[in-house]
């Protein structure tokens, strides 16, 4: 398993956002999230104001990871699509490439079939965008020498010890 850092650039995120917005419109979904397999939220589109997307991303990644292990135990390489059916809202999770999962939250205005159709359609587009990261020449984030001091100051400010 690779240990390289995942770096995403603004133009990639914009392309991803456009693709997600188009998908939400066509499938009549509520919102869509793109989540790293480690639980980091990459981007989100749609109606997400009432959602704690940070926690959601971590939980969804955990859920996906656990079902991946279940798949391995039953002899499948992977479950590439998951569907959670609720009373009002439902969640469709699909694997994009190797490291990313796309989460679509929708309600009864649309159907699971529609969401699956458009999610599948857009999956290939997103995979190309996200996986092209490694091929790009990265400028590199230069962290100055005062990065450590700034970081220490921030940490001391937040983690104020009473002892």
């Amino acid at each position: 398993m690779s240990r390289e850092q995942q770096v995403l650039y603004e133009d990639q995120i914009q392309q991803v956002d456009q693709a997600l917005t188009r998908m939400i419109k066509e499938a009549e979904a509520k919102c869509a999230l793109l989540v790293d397999k480690d639980g980091h939220l990459i981007t989100r589109q749609g109606f997400t104001h009432t959602l704690d997307t940070t926690a959601l991303a971590a939980l969804l990644a955990g859920s996906f990871a656990s079902t991946r292990e279940i798949a391995r135990l039953v002899g499948e390489p992977e479950f590439s699509v998951l569907f959670h059916q609720g009373k009002k809202d439902h969640i469709h999770i699909s694997l994009i490439g190797e490291r990313t999962i796309m989460v679509v939250i929708f309600d009864d205005r649309t159907t699971i079939g529609m969401v699956r159709l458009y999610a599948k359609e857009i999956g290939e587009t997103l995979r190309n965008i996200v996986e092209n990261t490694e091929e790009r020449k990265q400028d590199g984030l230069e962290l100055g020498k005062d990065f450590s001091e700034s970081a220490e100051a921030k940490l001391d400010d937040i983690f104020q010890d009473k002892f």
Binding site: M1, R3, Q5, V7, G39, V81, E134, K154
Partner: protein, 396 residues
């Protein structure tokens, strides 16, 4: 694996609290959640059993603020400590950037500490991680209990590599922040040393990995093996990590959702986890073929023949008595005769006098109607009313 998002200008690192069961990992997180400003942290998610034993993980996002324009966030996780949760422990370890090994200082728990540490090394090796390459600190927890092992003994058994260690009593919060500050700083220092360059191929790992492993741009930062030369008189050891004497106050905090209480999620979740779909190209192709066949069959049955009849229905219904034909040549012959009393409009004699009653014959259309009068629906019949209306004196 640190995630750098240039679009949102954020750096996210993952820190995992590891250790044997009931060593105080969740307690660490609960203390952090309670004590740090609410604007700097999110919600504490705990996936636990009824007995408050961690089932899957605890999760707490912490936002320390902007450093050089990048929002620096840490995602704190704990793992379930019990032995039989090893499968889920491995899942949580994925993508870890910093580790806190929480050891139970009690003498009776020494074997569990050793077993857990070995388990950590094994799980990291499965992922292709080298424990020496990852930022790690050790916390000797429960220093407030009576029957505890001395620090020297713990160090010799659990920390031969000389990693930074901290004494703690997580129930009171003692040592929790020191540990967390140290591991955060180590992770950030490692970040700085790598300078965010593209990943390079790693040196070959001794354990066979499934795919090529890359440990990042730069060579891993050398460990800080040196212990503090002088112990702090108050009994708590200081790590080798330096902290400024006077903390600088910072004003630019990025707000996160303000949550005042931890959420304990029960394993029983209302939503139904129902469907999972495996990608099987052969199966999907077969299904598509079957679906297509069904659609075509339906289409055939629905089509009409050229003469306007539906061959599908011919067997079902006897249409022989209905002369369905386009030949209307005998229409004239078949038309019903006009009633004898009917007079065409041009037969009227408009003499100009106002009195037409003697000229216009009485007509009883009901007797002469060839067609059966359509039956009105019961609901629409106006019962008890008989309408008589006159129209130019023709109808009575």
């Amino acid at each position: 694996m640190v995630s750098i998002n240039y679009a949102f200008k954020e750096i996210i690192s993952k820190i995992v609290y590891y250790g044997p069961g009931l060593s105080g990992k969740t307690t660490n997180l609960q203390y952090v959640f309670k004590e740090i400003p609410s604007a700097t942290r999110g919600e504490l998610i705990s996936l636990a059993t009824d007995a408050d034993r961690t089932l899957y993980f605890d999760f707490l996002p912490v936002n320390v603020g902007k450093i050089q324009g990048f929002a620096t966030k840490f995602q704190l996780y704990t793992v379930p400590g019990q032995v039989y949760y090893n499968a889920t422990r491995k899942l949580v370890l994925r993508g870890v950037d910093g580790l806190v090994f929480v050891a139970d200082s009690q003498a009776s728990k020494m074997d569990e500490n050793i077993e857990s540490l070995q388990n950590l090394k094994d799980n990291l090796e499965e992922y292709g991680y080298d424990i020496d390459q990852i930022s790690m600190v050790i916390q000797y927890n429960k220093r407030d209990l009576p029957d505890i092992v001395s620090i020297d003994q713990l160090e010799s058994i659990l920390n031969p590599a000389g990693l930074p260690y901290f004494e703690a009593a997580a129930v009171t919060g003692e040592g929790v922040f020191k540990t967390l500050k140290a591991i955060c700083k180590m992770v950030l220092d490692q970040l700085k040393s790598k300078k965010m360059e593209p990943a390079r191929q790693a040196k070959p790992q001794p354990v066979e990995a499934r795919e090529p492993v890359s440990v990042g741009a730069a060579v891993a930062q050398p460990r800080a093996p040196e212990k503090p030369s002088a112990r702090v008189p108050n009994g708590l050891s200081e790590a080798a990590v330096e902290v400024p004497a006077t903390p600088v106050r910072s004003t630019d905090k990025i707000s996160t959702p303000n949550v005042e209480r931890a959420v304990i999620l029960e394993p029983e979740i209302p939503a139904n986890v129902v469907v999972s779909d495996a990608v099987d190209e052969r199966r999907s192709a077969r299904e598509e073929h079957v679906e297509q066949e069904v659609v075509e069959e339906r289409t055939e049955r629905a089509t009409m023949d050229g003469d306007g009849t539906d061959s599908g229905y011919r067997e079902k219904y006897d249409v022989g008595h209905l002369p369905l034909t386009n030949d209307y040549s005998d229409f004239e012959r078949k038309q019903p005769e006009r009633p004898s009393g009917f007079t065409h409009a041009h037969d009227y004699n408009f003499s100009g006098s106002g009195d037409y009653s003697s000229d216009v014959p009485e007509i009883n259309l009901k007797a002469n109607l060839p067609l059966k009068k359509p039956q009105m629906a019961e609901s629409r019949k106006v019962k008890g009313k008989k309408k008589k209306f006159g129209l130019f004196g023709l109808f009575r």
